[in-house]
């Protein structure tokens, strides 16, 4: 018979009456609280150590299955202060805890294999280390190869084989810019015989700021859980850092500056990271904003999982509840009470930094000052943990696995400590320059060698480095690749970022006042709720268009079409939506806005839109909503204006309506937003700039409600169903097929397809097979299906 415990157990986790004792969660905390000070680690008072189960049961201190014969239980029950345990001057163990230990003994003293109260065998250094480079053995002077050659030698591993040019160009282009190399670049690169061509390619890729930024944006958005939509935004409980991040990557902002601006933000642009996600209503103690702060910064920059320790002292590493709350208190506006497993402990947290060897926070200082002190400690020259954590992540991105694995468990022993420490201190010595380290890794022979399969079982202890690992294309890389092959990227994007370069004078010049319009019901108004109107305006450019952008907003909702194509929609009157439209402007243009007034009673309604067209002669023109726009009070059904018969509608003049709240919300942002939209870029939109859609989510783009630092390595069935049934994908590939057929003669088609998808020439058997399928005059459907089949092959979906 099992003992039935009273419901008053207050230990870390409540047990149900029927439950087996959970050693890690129910027993370890009790032993740690009352016994470990004298009987664990290096301590073995009275000759008793409980480091391991074998030591625990030695000398019948404990007898598994028999609590009444276990000496340590007797001692705990003993009332004589000279004999009792814990010793007389320590607090007594509560009865429910004693009962728990007895139950544990009676159930046989379950013990996780290899669990020990002893000190872990590996403790990573905190301070930076600058290992000496070994002498050159492999004929290369590259610092990483000198270290790795020595590693291979010491571990009796074979030297790695260099990778061929076409594999290299695909790998390095995808790794540094997220894109496939263009077929012409593959041809010229493979034909190039100069010895420095790989170095030159790496420099060329890293110098492409836009491509670099829009690829690495994905990595940083995941790491900093930033997104353009997601939980929390709806109630204003979350803000983006998108524009700050985008500009930081574009100008290759030093990483220590990035960390400082994220932790001690000077303004709202980079404040979203530390401010976390605030949900409406009450949340558990482990998810308050200060605790989120503690967890996020520990995970992202220190490679520490503080989530365990923010509920109770971690059972698996050295971090405690005090550590987690010490960091949280740096952020907290108010005194912060410690909670263990969501229950208040009565203690108040003191702002505290967890590696005091380089200094600490002044808990008496104000919040801003505390954050600034923390930012200083995180980027302190003697802080080796932050650089190690980020360079390990970069290595993981490029090589398919970190030197420390997993990436978020930096307390784990790396497979080569000198390599990690050398790269980390080199990173520091070079001004925390991210591109420097990316260049360092990609120029190494180690990176440029043949990939080796990654095994499913892949634990830190038995792992040996034998070369880079193949990586699956990310959702964004896959979508970008399809758009590249087909030339069919979308016209607008969601990220509130400026892709082009913006001249501050232009912002000034475009800072005009908005003018809003509505239908006749607005005079005198207010318009009825539920009213839906159609607004239109025709215009023609008077010169050759260089760039163009559009902005719009409405109270309450609108959809905007340019020449029948949906460009923008929105339902926030205080938000300006924007898109570049240079590619959509024709000789004759028509703007259509379907606008809707919502609410439960008649209320103010208005729509605003402005197009800026910049001409090749540097002049520009603005088309804005005003009373020259026409309005129809009936709106045809459906969402395809191409099918509407607009001439059948009754058109009247629109009415100017201007509500001060609209103007104050939008006018100050017009200059910047419109400049950004029309600056745009002639480069195709990238998937990283879009909100996640069903396909991207299926391909592994995470909901960025939590920090996610690694993407799934496998394809799932539902994804495959989606890829097989996806009509948009077929339509897209069809456009690509048409393009290829137009551009290449039949005999060159197979080669071109292979070069633009797999970045290599087809093997003879492939050439023969595919040519046989396509025949002498390839038709669009067959080329479309060939493109689909190639993009589904493992070789396409994996960066090898």
């Amino acid at each position: 018979m099992r003992k039935i415990l009273s419901a008053s157990i207050t230990s870390a986790f409540l047990a149900t009456a029927q439950a087996e004792v959970d050693f890690v969660h129910q027993v370890v905390p009790i032993l740690k609280e009352h016994c470990s000070e004298c009987h664990s680690g290096a301590e073995s008072k009275g000759g008793f150590s409980m480091n391991t189960r074998a030591l625990f049961i030695d000398d019948e201190t404990a007898v598994p299955g028999k609590s009444h014969e276990s000496y340590f239980i007797d001692l705990i029950h003993d009332s004589d202060p000279d004999y009792q345990m814990p010793p007389g001057d320590y607090p007594r163990m509560p009865a429910d805890q004693i009962a728990m230990l007895e139950m544990w003994v009676n159930e046989g003293m379950k013990w996780e294999e290899d669990f020990t109260f002893g000190t872990p065998t590996y403790e990573p250094p905190f301070l930076p280390r600058r290992p000496k480079l070994p002498t050159i053995t492999g004929g290369t002077n590259h610092p990483l190869d000198r270290l790795i050659d020595e590693y291979l030698l010491l571990n009796d591993l074979e030297k790695m084989e260099p990778v061929d040019d076409s594999t290299f160009i695909r790998r390095v282009t995808l790794d540094l810019t997220g894109l496939l190399p263009g077929p012409d670049r593959v041809r010229s690169f493979c034909g190039d015989t100069s010895p420095g061509k790989r170095q030159a390619l790496i420099d060329e890729l890293l110098a492409d700021d836009l491509a670099y930024t829009e690829h690495w944006l994905t990595f940083w958005n995941d790491l900093l859980r930033n997104d353009y939509t997601g939980t929390g935004f709806i109630t204003g409980g979350r803000t983006q850092i998108s524009e700050w991040l985008y500009q930081a990557l574009k100008e290759n902002k030093p990483f220590d500056t990035m960390v400082q601006e994220l932790i001690a933000p000077a303004d709202s642009a980079s404040a979203g990271f530390i401010n976390g996600i605030k949900w409406r209503g009450t949340v558990s103690a482990g998810q308050t904003l200060p605790v989120q702060f503690s967890q996020s910064l520990s995970q992202a920059f220190l490679g520490i999982n503080m989530k365990c320790a923010s509920c109770h002292d971690s059972f698996l590493d050295r971090w405690t509840l005090d550590d987690a709350y010490g960091l949280a208190a740096i952020y907290s506006d108010d005194p912060l009470e410690l909670h263990r497993c969501d229950k208040p402990t009565g203690a108040t947290a003191k702002a505290n930094w967890i590696f005091p060897e380089i200094g600490n926070i002044n808990p008496a200082a104000g919040k801003e000052e505390r954050l600034s002190q923390l930012a200083g400690l995180m980027t302190h020259p003697e802080n080796g943990r932050v650089p190690r954590t980020i360079v390990n992540r970069l290595w993981g991105q490029l090589m398919g696995r970190g030197m420390v694995h997993p990436l978020d468990a930096m307390q784990t022993e790396p497979w080569n400590e000198d390599l990690l420490d050398w790269i980390a201190s080199d990173f520091q010595d070079n001004g925390y320059d991210l591109k420097h380290t990316l260049r360092l890794i990609t120029t190494s022979a180690a990176y440029q060698s043949k990939s080796v399969p990654q095994e499913e079982i892949n634990d830190a202890e038995s792992y040996q480095f034998r070369g880079p690992h193949p990586k699956r294309l990310t959702a964004e890389q896959f979508v970008d690749a399809i758009w590249q092959i087909t030339g069919n990227a979308p016209a607008s994007y969601d990220a509130p970022v400026a892709r082009g370069v913006i001249d501050p004078a232009l912002i000034e010049q475009l800072s005009f006042e908005s003018s809003w319009i509505w239908g006749p019901s607005a005079r005198p108004g207010p318009p009825p709720h539920g009213e839906k109107i159609l607004l239109r305006k025709n215009f023609s450019p008077n010169n050759k268009v260089r760039s163009a952008g559009i902005i719009a907003a409405a109270d309450n909702a609108y959809v905007l079409y340019l020449n029948g194509q949906k460009i923008l929609d929105g339902s926030q009157w205080n938000e300006l939506d924007a898109a570049p439209v240079a590619n959509s402007i024709k000789q004759e243009n028509q703007l259509l806005i379907v606008a809707e007034n919502r609410g439960a009673k008649p209320n103010a309604a208005g729509a605003f839109c402005a197009v800026r067209i910049e001409y090749e002669d540097n002049s520009d023109e603005i088309v804005m909503t005003d009373e020259t726009w026409q309005v129809s009070q009936s709106v045809p059904p459906g969402s395809r204006p191409g099918k509407w018969n607009l001439d059948e509608l009754t058109w009247t003049s629109s009415v100017s309506v201007n509500v001060p709240q609209w103007k104050s919300a939008t006018d100050k942002r017009i200059g910047k937003t419109l400049a950004r939209a029309s600056a745009g870029s002639d480069r195709p939109v990238r998937a990283s700039l879009l909100k996640a859609d069903e396909l991207m989510r299926a391909l592994g783009r995470p909901n960025r409600d939590q920090i996610v630092t690694s993407r799934p390595s496998e394809l799932t069935t539902l994804e495959a169903v989606n890829l097989a049934t996806n009509g948009d994908l077929v339509a897209n590939l069809k456009k690509g097929a048409e393009k290829l057929i137009r551009a290449f003669p039949a005999e060159k088609l197979v080669e071109s397809i292979y070069l633009s998808t797999l970045s290599r020439y087809p093997a003879e058997s492939e050439e023969n097979f595919a040519s046989g399928i396509l025949g002498d005059s390839p038709d669009t459907a067959t080329v479309t299906d060939l493109l689909w089949a190639i993009t589904m092959t493992p070789e396409f979906l994996i960066v090898r």
Binding site: T16, G108, K110, E113, D114, T116, P120, T121, Y122, T229, T231, I234, W279, R280, G281, V283, Q287, Q292, K307, C308, S314, L316, H405, P406, A409, T412, E413, K450, P453, Q454, N458, D459, E461, A600, E694, R697, N703, D705, Q706, T709, S713, E714, L715, T716, T717, L718, A720, V721, T725, V730, A763, S765, E766, F769, I773, W788, M792, T793, P794, I798
Partner: protein, 482 residues
């Protein structure tokens, strides 16, 4: 060192057996990142009472006093006092003597003798009430936010049990749009397999009448072109000179997924997605709207081996069950939308002999009341649109506040007692649970146990044990099982 577990011990639970494989150093690696490992495989599984589960979700807060738990009926009278309203529909008899439900649900009343009605389900007080937080809680067992992405209960079933028929997706979600509706991000946060990964995630079919297209060749592609395209794919893979670069498991997983997908898309089971294949007179019984058609689709999918199917009346802020105003008229419409399809689903499953092995649940995130927001003692702020003491217009009449103190859940089939009533709420305001309260955690334990999943089943994510019911504490309400 070995674990000291006596395999002969009665109902012994072999826990954390995966840890046996872990060395001390790699215990750290276990802390985060790496793929989740199955825990609790050795946990004694309760004997499954059902093979499939259909959740009929009344998104937005279904008022129990307007549906399954009628109170004093007070018809509308201009100027009536707001606090005099308990139910706006009279009670009607059901096929079970001691159970009455609200008028408008006559067909459901007719199948009452096939199921168990729980009238005592309670929700926690989360302060200010947000539908999507309670929906997250109901669908995952955990209150958001969480430090890891919690899996949907459908994903738990997909992960632990897999599909009944390996061709079919395990988890199918019908009727909820995830784009273009308010709070869509909050809906996506729980409509996911979370840390299990998308293999166990939902197949989303927001429009039941379009479900067939999700498993058909792309529009404009003939069947023969579709199958040729797949053949072409296989031939290219066979001819690929670079097949050795990726590890077998990675390459195989890609190929296996493509294979699984093609198998579904070329199977006879894919017809299950096409409700047009039902005889017209059957379709008519279900044709009350998207929800009704979703019920028909759910029946076809379960007949063909889906494990978990959710059908929702759809949550859209201020629409459907989210009756901040006009409660009576809205619920009157909703009765018409759900009554016949729900009853017909039960009858159809019964006729096919699979009701006993299919657990059908009708539930919502919380109930509603005319006066009380939250529950007694709650600090939730009042979110009613019309805050009036006297009802002067029809739109004032109905239950417009979110009530977390007592709601109803209806269960059919899957081993539950027939014609059984469990729990009760007060007859006077506050209409709180007065007998046998059931928490979400215990409700999940009940559902999972019926499906043959122990409430203590756990997986490890980032070094933390994550249980199918909150912290493994759920206790099934065993009294409701036959």
């Amino acid at each position: 060192m070995t674990l000291n577990i006596d395999p002969e011990a009665p109902d012994s639970i072999v826990r954390r057996d995966f840890l046996k494989k872990l060395s001390a150093a790699s215990a750290a690696a276990w802390m985060s990142g790496s793929p989740q490992l199955v825990r609790g495989e050795g946990i004694a599984r309760p004997e499954a009472k059902a093979d499939a589960c259909i959740l009929l979700w009344m998104g937005g807060g279904m008022a129990a006093p307007e549906t399954f738990d009628p109170k004093l009926y007070t018809p509308f009278k201009k100027g009536m006092k707001a606090d005099s309203v308990l139910s706006t529909f009279p009670a009607i008899d059901t096929s079970v003597d001691n159970i009455k439900i609200c008028a408008g649900m006559e067909k459901i009343a007719g199948v009452m003798d096939r199921g168990t009605l729980l009238r005592s389900v309670v929700q926690p007080d989360l302060g200010s009430i947000l539908h999507s937080r309670h929906q997250y809680h109901w669908h995952t067992g955990y209150v958001p936010p969480q430090t890891v992405a919690a899996p949907h209960i459908g994903s738990w079933m997909a992960k632990v049990l897999g599909p009944n028929n390996e061709v079919m997706p395990s988890f199918i979600n019908i009727g909820q749009r995830l784009e273009g509706v308010g709070e869509k991000e909050e809906l996506k946060a729980f409509t996911t397999a979370g840390f299990f990964g998308s293999e166990y995630g939902p197949m989303n079919l927001p429009f039941p009448e379009e479900a067939a297209s999700a498993v058909r060749p792309p529009e404009s592609m003939t069947e023969s072109r579709f199958s040729n395209r797949n053949k072409l794919f296989r031939q290219l893979v066979d001819r690929n000179p670079h097949r050795d670069f990726a590890s077998d498991f990675q390459q195989e997983s890609l190929m296996r997924s493509m294979e699984n997908a093609y198998r579904l898309l070329s199977s006879k089971e894919r017809d299950a997605f096409d409700i047009e294949r039902e005889p017209k007179e059957v379709r008519k019984k279900y044709d009350t709207g998207r929800f009704g058609r979703g019920c028909l689709l759910a029946r076809r999918l379960v007949e063909n081996g889906a494990r978990f199917v959710e059908v929702t009346t759809e949550y859209v802020p201020f629409l459907h069950w989210d009756t901040h105003a006009n409660g009576h008229d809205t619920v009157d419409r909703l009765h018409k939308e759900i009554d016949e399809p729900v009853a017909q689903l039960i009858l159809d499953l019964e006729e096919r002999g699979i009701l006993d092995r299919t657990l059908v649940i009708v539930a919502s995130e919380f109930s509603r009341d005319a006066m009380m927001e939250g529950k007694p003692g709650s600090t939730a702020n009042d979110q009613a649109t019309h805050k009036v003491d006297q009802l002067t217009e029809m739109k004032h009449y109905g239950l417009h506040r979110h009530f977390t103190g007592g709601s109803s859940v209806m269960m059919f089939g899957g081993g539950v007692k027939k014609g059984h009533l469990y729990g009760a709420t007060a007859d006077e305001r506050p209409l709180i649970t007065v007998e046998n309260p059931v928490t979400i955690t215990d409700l999940h334990a009940t559902i999972m146990s019926a499906m043959g999943i122990s409430p203590k089943t756990e997986f490890t994510v980032e070094g933390r044990p994550f249980y199918v019911t909150k912290d493994g504490t759920g206790k099934p309400v065993t009294e409701i099982f036959a």
